[in-house]
């Protein structure tokens, strides 16, 4: 297994480190898991493009020593679709957050899944709009406090992984930052999957979400992600907990392959 130092020297832009992310932010763990998955698969960084929208999660591609595209808010998947359609040989990875993916980019999200275009989407769900100061996001759990829900949220939250599954994504997984090895394996499978792979990562935002909900201890935050999640095998016994694991893994015709076969069919 590659050590953190080798990983840092091989894949990270040194001038950008240490990262701007807050202490206790889970985004760095997701970056770590992604780079480890890329290293295990021995993928060529020159053949990869990292696309992101706006938000803390979308800072991640700036740290990787590869081509990156920082797109407009919510439109990361639209830009990524363009890149993949333009050059299907590229491996396109999208870093997105809950506000970016489910909030403003919700429609791009379901339609990218509907087309089943070969992207690997890593959605970092921290239950809040962290970068803009902790407003309520579409995934904020009920009764939790944010700057726009000071008496507790009453909205029903989105379940991103279930949404992706229902929309027809061939690979869907959900893990938390407290499960780094499983997360790394899920990203590896997602990168290998030909179609649209969706990996949701539950990640803490100690500054904007947990601080407002009166949790100021990193150990309590870390344990919350361990205690309030359950693997899908045992999900029926614990209906109040969040099911984590590989939710779906099937083969499905990929859009750029279908496009290629269509072009060869109709070309005179």
């Amino acid at each position: 297994m590659i050590s953190n130092k080798e990983l840092h020297d091989k894949y990270i832009k040194k001038a950008m480190m240490p990262s701007i992310l807050c202490a206790g932010c889970g985004n760095g763990t997701v970056l770590n898991a992604t780079l480890r998955a890329i290293d295990v698969l021995d993928m060529d960084l020159d053949n990869m493009v990292f696309v992101s929208g706006i938000g803390c999660s979308s800072r991640l591609n700036a740290y990787i020593n590869a081509d990156a595209l920082h797109a407009t808010h919510g439109r990361a998947l639209a830009f990524a679709t363009g890149i993949k359609a333009g050059n299907p040989k590229l491996d396109v990875v999208v870093f997105t957050g809950d506000g970016d993916c489910a909030g403003i980019g919700g429609n791009h999200f379901i339609h990218a899944i509907r087309r089943n275009i070969g992207l690997t989407v890593i959605a970092i769900n921290n239950y809040t709009y962290g970068m803009t100061g902790g407003q309520m996001s579409p995934t904020t759990p009920q009764k939790s406090i944010s700057t726009t829900s000071p008496y507790g949220a009453i909205d029903h939250p989105f379940d991103l992984a279930e949404l992706a599954k229902a929309a027809g994504a061939p690979y869907v997984a959900r893990w938390t930052i407290a499960h780094p090895l499983q997360l790394q394996r899920a990203i590896k499978k997602g990168l290998k999957n030909n179609g649209f792979s969706f990996i949701e990562v539950l990640s803490p935002c100690p500054t904007s979400f947990w601080r407002r909900n009166k949790v100021r201890n990193f150990e309590t935050i870390y344990n919350w992600y361990k205690e309030n999640t359950v693997t899908i095998k045992k999900a029926k016994e614990h209906p109040d907990k969040i099911p984590i694991g590989e939710l779906k893994n099937i083969d499905k015709d990929e859009w750029t392959d279908l496009w290629k076969s269509l072009v060869s069919e109709v070309r005179i």
């Binding site: 050590s3 953190n4 990270i12 992310l21 202490a23 206790g24 780094p180 090895l181």
Partner: protein, 65 residues
């Protein structure tokens, strides 16, 4: 051998909570950021390297001697 970069560590302590053998502990040692750097117990380490995988800042390195 466990090494922690004082320049990169932000003191979140996720490595300490993730460690199954208590080889890392919260300490009073403070770095230039004013955060606590974990205390290392080399003998307790079983080389599972979970701390390396969970570290959000690439600050911790576990290597065989």
């Amino acid at each position: 051998m466990i090494r922690i970069s004082e320049e990169y560590c932000k003191g979140c302590g996720y490595c300490v909570f993730a460690c199954p053998t208590d080889a890392l502990k919260i300490s009073n040692k403070i770095n230039f950021r004013g955060v606590s750097i974990p205390l290392i117990d080399e003998k307790a380490c079983k080389m599972c390297r979970l701390c390396e995988m969970i570290c959000p800042d690439f600050a911790i390195v576990v290597e065989e001697e």
